[in-house]
Amino acid sequence: MSTPPQSDAEPILETRGLTKKFGEIIANDDISIDVRNDELRSIIGPNGAGKTTFFNQIAGVLPSTEGTVHFKGRDVTDEPIEERAQLGLGRAYQSNELFFEQTVFENVRVAAQTAEIGEFSFDVFSRARNFKADRAEELLERLYLSDERNTEARNLSHGDQRRLGIAIALATEPDLLLLDEPTSGMGPEATEETASLIKELRDELDIAIVLIEHDMSVVMGISDRITVLYDGSHVATGDPETIRANEEVQEAYLGGMKEEELEL
C-alpha cells in the first residue's frame, strides 16, 4: 500500500453497460462508471434505486444480465466472488454479515489469513491461532475494537458490528473497498466518527473506496465524487457541489429535503 496518490491514474474499476434484471424487473440498466484508484466515491439514490444490486454485481454476488466489470484492468465479469476478493476487492455488507460465533479478533484474523494464503490452501498442519495476528490487532486498534477483542461478534452492539464489518473487509487488503451504508444504525456522533475514519483510511492506505449512503451530511462531507442512481439508471456523477446543484438530482432525490435536514 505504498503507491503515491495519482489522481489521473488508470481507473481501478470500470463498469460498462452493467445491467441486472430480476425477471421482468430491471434493477439496473446500462450503468457505466469509472472509479480512480485513490478515489472516495459515494453512490446515492432512493431506496430501490439499485445501489446494493450494483455492488452485488461488482463483487460477483449476483451475475449480471449484461455488461462487463473490469477490475484493475482485468475483465472479472465471469469471475466468482472469491476470485475478485483475492484480486483486491473488499466488501462490507448493508446488513451485518459477520462470523457471529467467532470472536472479534478471529473474525479479522481469518480474513487477514485468507489474504495471505489465497483462495485455497491445503495447509492443514501449521498453527492458525497466531497466523496474521499482528495485522488483525492493528486493524482492531484502528477501528476502536481492541477492547472487544475477545467478544463474540454476535454480542457486539449494532454500531460495533458495522465497524467490524469494515475491519474484515480491510483485513483482506483490498485495493478497492465497497461499503454499503456504513453509518446506518449509528447515532449522530458515531456517524461523524465513521465518516472521518473512512476518509482517513483512504488517505492512509491509499485505496479506492466506494460507499452507498443515505446520510447526506456524510456524503457531501467526504466524497470526492458522487454518483446518483435512480430507478436503476445512472443519473449523474460529479463532485458534491455539482451534484447539489444538479436539477435532475434535486428533483429525483434531494427534492423532498428540508434545509434543516441537509445540515443535520
Binding site: F22, I25, G45, P46, N47, G48, A49, S184, G187, P188, E189, H214, M216, A252, Y253, L254, G255, G256, M257, K258, E260, E261
Partner: protein
C-alpha cells in the same frame, strides 16, 4: 369524540418499568405525534395500544372507541379499529404484496377492498406479485402502511414511518399520511424521530421523556419554542 384514550398507563419489560402514568387523548380525525429521544418509551406506548407483547401493562387503561381494550387479546384488537405500522416495517418477506395485504383483509370484519388500498400506492400496484423481501426499503414501508390501511382502521398507529428512507420517499409517505387523513378522515397516531416531518403533518405533539409525558403543544407553538426541541429531543 375522543377516539383513543390512554389513561395513566404504566408498562414495562420483565421487572423494569418503562412507562409511568402516560395519558394521551386523540380526537377523531386528528393526527397526533409522540416525540422523544431514543429509548424514551415511544414504541413501548404504541405497542401497548396495538397489543404487542412484550411490554406488559402494569396499570392504567387504554380505550378505543369508548371500549376498554387493555386486556383484550392481541389478535382481537385488529377488529377493534386499530391499524398498526410497526417499527422496521415488518412485512412478511416471503409473501407477495397482495398476499401481505390480503392477510389484513382476511382477518378483519370490515376491510377495504384490495383495489382501493392499492390505488393509494401506484408503485405497489406495479409490483403486486413480488415477494416483499425483494422490495426496496421504501416499497416495504408503503406496503406496511397499505397493510394497516386495508383493515380499515379507525386509528392508525405509525411507528417511525420515515426511518431509513431516502429523503424523497419520506416526502411520499408524508403525502400519503395527509391524504388519508384529509380524504378518509383517518385518525393517526404517529411516532417520529424526524421532527421536521412530524411538524409538517401533525395537529398536535406529545413529548415523552423517560417514560413520562412531559409536554403537549401544537406545531405552530413548537416552532416558536425551539428550546423545547433542545430539551426533549436533542441527543
Amino acid at each position: 369524540m375522543t377516539l383513543v384514550e390512554i389513561e395513566d398507563l404504566c408498562a414495562g419489560y420483565g421487572t423494569g418499568q418503562v412507562l409511568f402514568d402516560v395519558s394521551i387523548d386523540i380526537e377523531e380525525g386528528e393526527i397526533v405525534s409522540l416525540l422523544g429521544r431514543n429509548g424514551a418509551g415511544k414504541s413501548t406506548t404504541m405497542r401497548c395500544v396495538a397489543g404487542a407483547e412484550p411490554p406488559h401493562v402494569l396499570d392504567g387503561s387504554i380505550r378505543v372507541n369508548g371500549e376498554d381494550i387493555t386486556d383484550t387479546k392481541t389478535y382481537k384488537r385488529a377488529n377493534k379499529g386499530i391499524g398498526y405500522v410497526p417499527e422496521e416495517r415488518r412485512v412478511w418477506p416471503g409473501l407477495t404484496i397482495t398476499e401481505n395485504i390480503r392477510m389484513a383483509i382476511n382477518n378483519t370484519t370490515d376491510p377495504l377492498d384490495m383495489d382501493r388500498v392499492l390505488s393509494y400506492f401506484p408503485r405497489l400496484q406495479d409490483l403486486e406479485d413480488k415477494a416483499a423481501r425483494n422490495l426496496s426499503g421504501g416499497e416495504q414501508q408503503m406496503l406496511a402502511i397499505a397493510r394497516a390501511l386495508a383493515s380499515n382502521p379507525d386509528v392508525m398507529l405509525m411507528d417511525e414511518p420515515s426511518e431509513g428512507l431516502a429523503p424523497y420517499i419520506v416526502r411520499d409517505v408524508e403525502e400519503v399520511i395527509t391524504t388519508l387523513n384529509e380524504e378518509e378522515g383517518l385518525t393517526i397516531f404517529l411516532v417520529e424521530q424526524n421532527v421536521v416531518m412530524a411538524m409538517d403533518v401533525s395537529d398536535r405533539h406529545y413529548f415523552i421523556d423517560q417514560g413520562q409525558i412531559v409536554d403537549e403543544m401544537t406545531p405552530s407553538k413548537l416552532k416558536e419554542r425551539p428550546e423545547v426541541r433542545q430539551k426533549y429531543l436533542s441527543v
